[in-house]
Structures are given as C-alpha cells and as structure tokens.
Amino acid sequence: MGWSVKHKLGLVAVAVALIALPFVLAMAGTAWVRITNFAVLFILLSLGLNIVVGFAGLLDLGYVAFFAVGAYVYALLASPHFGLHLPFWVILPIGALVAGLAGAVLGAPTLRLRGDYLAIVTLGFGEIVRIFMNNLSAPLNITNGPKGINLIDPFRIGDFSFATTAGALSGPIKYYYFLLIVLLAVIVINRRLQDSRIGRAWVAIREDEVAAKAAGIDTRNIKLLAFAMGASFGGIAGGMFAAIQGFVSPESFILNESIMILAMVVLGGMGNIWGVIAGALLLSFMPELLRYTVEPAQKALFGRMLVDPEVLRMLIFGFALVLTMRFRPAGLWPETRHRRELDADRK
C-alpha cells in the first residue's frame, strides 16, 4: 500500500489544521471550543451507532441509553456521590464494558426482530434506562434521581488536570486534544472492523439474513457483537461527556438525543464512516451557527426581531434535513463509493 506524496502532504495539512483548530476557535470565544468538543462526542456516538445501523442494518432508536450508561458509570466512580475517585483510564474501559454488556442485554431478546419492531423495542429500552436513572434514588440512592450527580472529577493524569487553564491551554482545548486522539482511534477501529471478516458478516446480514445464515454465519452471535461493539463506543463517549460536563442527569439522555444521533448517521450516509462523520459535524454545528446568525440577520434585515430565533433555527434545521433526504436519500455521502475506494486502496 503506497502513499503518494500528494497523499502524505494532504495528511500533514489535515493534521496541522486539526492541531491548530482549537486556538483559532478560541479567538472567536471558548464557547466554540466547547461546541467543537460536543461535536466530536456526537461523531463518536454516530460512529458507534453506525456499527449497529449502518454496518449490521439493525435499527436502534434507544442508542442514547449506552451513552447514559457510560456517563453514569463515570459519574458514580469519580465523584463525591459514593466518594470514589478512580482515574479516568480505569473508568473509561469499565464504562465501555458495562455499556457493551447493556448492548448485548438489549440485543439478546431482539434478535428475531427487524425493522420497525426492532425500532420500537430499542426505543423502549432507551426510555427504560432513562427512567431507571430517574428513579434509582430510593431506597438505595444510586443515581441521585432527577437531580443528577454533581462535582464529577475531570480527567487527571498525576498533577495534570484537564479542567484547569495552563497558559494558552484552556480546559476545553485539553479535552479537545484528548477527544481527537480517541476519535482517531475509533475511526481506525471502525475502518478495520468494516474491512474484516466480522465486518463482512455484518454487511451480509444487512443484505440478506437468510443467505448469510445459509452461507455459514452465526447470525445470532454476529448481531450481538454489533450491538455490543456499538454500545461500547457509546459508553466511552458517555464517560468523556460526564467528565467534560462535570455533571450528569437523566435529562441529557432523552429520546430526542437518540433520534439526533440516528439522523446524523442517516444524513451522512449509513455505513460510510466519512459520511457519518460529515453528518455528525453538520448536525452539531448547524444549530449553533444558526443560533449565532439568525438574530443578527433579522436585526440587519428588518431592524427588529420578527421571529423568535429558537423557532426559526429549528425550522431551518428541519427544512434542511427534509431537503437533504429528498435529494440525497442515501445520505450526503453514501456507502458504495466508499467501498470501491477501499478495494482500490487494498490492491
């Protein structure tokens, strides 16, 4: 596999841009670095969900549950709530594991379901998890109910804390770099999975489950694997979310979030990693951009506010989604083209 000079230069340029990005954003305000961090979290979630929906073709409307599991695992093991303060590099793998188990638990009873039925069951699962978080405060106070868990530890390596500012390195910028590294790892993992024996089995099941069975694939195990893998990514993202926010409550894990993540996957192009990333970026940034432009634009045009910015923002957002799905039903950047590229790469 030879990398051309052009390829290498492009790679270096992207790397430099990604490293410089937070400082450029910080000039516009630290809020933009935070927004970017959340966008990266959503990319991670979308890539996780993409394994289930995009690769294996299993519709999951309760994906945010795994994000919640990861977040609460982190919150419980690194906050004054139980007085536990484990380091993040211990908790994140635990969160991935617990979320992965939760994925298998959701997967097991739903193996025979497909399409709409599967969507309904997973939707219910997502709600159940949220309701548990809301109510597991008595008789034994595990989750602290709707009030959520406060004062969650930030990431720390020795004396180096991710929450404090050191010179030009603000807290959000530190997290940005950490998230970037995790994102790179997740992209590599996803590409390798997609291009492996397991990845082929996922696609085969998506394409024709009966033929996949007859061709010798243990569809039960392979589907469970998809649920568990996808969920574990959600768990990792959840842990980072808890640390960055310093606070978790059941409110963050509502059905809307599941739908938003699914929209990112579908909009970008199910099954294609780069498409999914594009979808997640677009849907994360567009509302924010609109938030910052809708109000000034109206003032400039009409001299006063005609429509509440929040309403208009959601309207434009929804309209853009409908248009995309109308004119690019397979997503902005669908999968097949990518497949071809991959094949060419390998030769």
Partner: protein, 256 residues
C-alpha cells in the same frame, strides 16, 4: 458399493394444513450427482430448507458423513459440510462478487473483533488467504473478470455462478443446487452443465433440483422423484424415466 454421504429417514414437514413432505427418505452417496425432480409444489425446495436448517422439520432424522446432523441452525449445517444455492438467487447485492465469496469463507475462518482491530499477523494472513481463495473460486466458476463488480450488477447466469462460488467457499462435502438452470438460455445451461460435471470430477457430491429434465437425465447418477410431498421413485435415470408413476405424476403433467 460406494459410501453413503447423506441419509435422510422419514422427513416430514407441514405448513398449517399443507403436508409439504410426507415421510421422505433418501440416500445420497459420496461423489454422485443426485437429482431431485418433481412438479411445481412437490416439496423439493422445502426439503432443501429442512436439510439446511432453515425450516424446522416435523419428524425424521438426517445422518451426514456418518454423524447425526444438527438441523436446528443453518450455520451448523454449513459447518458440517452442506452448502446450498437458492431457487430465487440470494446474493449480497451491494457487495462485490469477491466479497460475496469471501463471506462464504466465514465458517472456515476464525478472526474475531480483536484480531481485526489489532490487525494481528494471523488476521492479516487469514484475510489474505480468504481473498486468494475467493479469487480462485471466482476463476473456477468462470467469472474471475467480474470480481470487483457489485453482485447485483452481474448478468443472471453470472449471478447463479457466483452463488455456486459462495457455496463452494464453505468447503462443502455436499453442494445442494436449487434449480440452477432456471431462466438460463441454452448456452448458459450448457456451461452450467460443464461446471457441475467438473464439480463431480473434483469430488464434490451434488444434490440437484432441476426442472430441465434433459439436463437432469443426462447429468445425474441417480434421480429421486417427489410428488405431493412423497417420494415416488429413486433410481438411475433410465429406470426412473420408464417408471409409470413418474410418467403420470411428473412428465404427464408438465410440458416437457
């Protein structure tokens, strides 16, 4: 007397009120091409689906290669050494021809999630071997030049071949073909016939459902006839052809 590869005893299957298979017993010997014929709705495909674990059966046992065959899950049947094609071609349409065959190697390979993520040496070697084998099989069935095409873009005859290649990738001892010549023109059928004869030469036992009587009679070592879910004859082609019951049930009712 040649070795017995598959022995089915008393297979029954009903769909609600329809008795699709009635106490069907048959014996397939190693290395032969065993034909299964009968009018439409006789139960041929149903018997395939029972043999390959896709439909639960209502009675009967199957012994394969001297061992009882677990019929409860298709992937176990594939692992035991039975592979099949479908009457209405079932390929993975959005995967390339090569990838379709690579999927067939799944049951004979072992790389898991961690191997894939770490790209361990064992995983890379296995992946390369899977790919090599897939290319060999595409060549074997005569569609090597189509390797990078999406399966759904292949010509009809090539799709049939691809399905056979995918089945062969599982290293079957018994290859079950469900009407492979259906919808083929004369040239394609002749090429298919050569392919199936080649399989026999290479030691693969073939169970062949076919509507084209000429093809079956010319190709098969032995033929069984199903009618209304019952086996009414089983013998060498010449004898079956002369059997009055067969003439009445099958040849009499069809245009052939």
């Amino acid at each position: 007397m040649t070795n017995v590869l598959l022995e089915a005893r008393g297979i029954g299957k009903r769909f609600g009120g329809v008795l699709a298979l009635k106490d069907v017993s048959l014996t397939i010997r190693c290395g032969e091409i065993y034909g299964l014929i009968g009018p439409n709705g006789a139960g041929k495909t149903t018997l395939f689906n029972v043999f390959t674990g896709l439909y639960p059966r209502d009675g009967g046992e199957v012994e394969f290669a001297g061992k009882p065959l677990q019929l409860d899950s298709p992937h176990r049947v594939a692992a035991a050494g039975i592979a099949r094609t479908f009457q209405n071609i079932r390929l993975f349409g959005n995967m390339t021809a090569r990838e379709n065959v690579m999927v067939g190697r799944h049951v004979r390979t072992r790389a898991g999630v961690f191997g894939a993520i770490l790209r361990s040496r064992a995983e890379r070697e296995e992946e390369a071997a899977i790919r090599r084998r897939a290319d060999e099989l595409l060549h074997y069935v005569g569609i090597a030049d189509r390797a990078d095409d999406l399966a759904r873009n292949l010509a009809y005859g090539d799709q049939r071949r691809l399905e056979i290649a995918r089945a062969l990738a599982t290293e079957p001892q018994l290859l079950a073909l469900d009407e492979p010549a259906a919808g083929m023109n004369a040239t394609e059928t002749a090429a298919l016939r050569e392919l199936i004869e080649g399989l026999r030469r290479d030691g693969v036992t073939v169970l062949l459902i076919e509507h084209d009587v000429k093809l079956v009679m010319g190709l098969c070592n032995r033929v069984a006839v199903l009618d209304h879910g019952e086996k009414i004859a089983e013998d060498v082609p010449e004898v079956v052809r002369a059997n009055p019951k067969v003439i009445e049930a099958y040849l009499g009712t069809s245009a052939h």
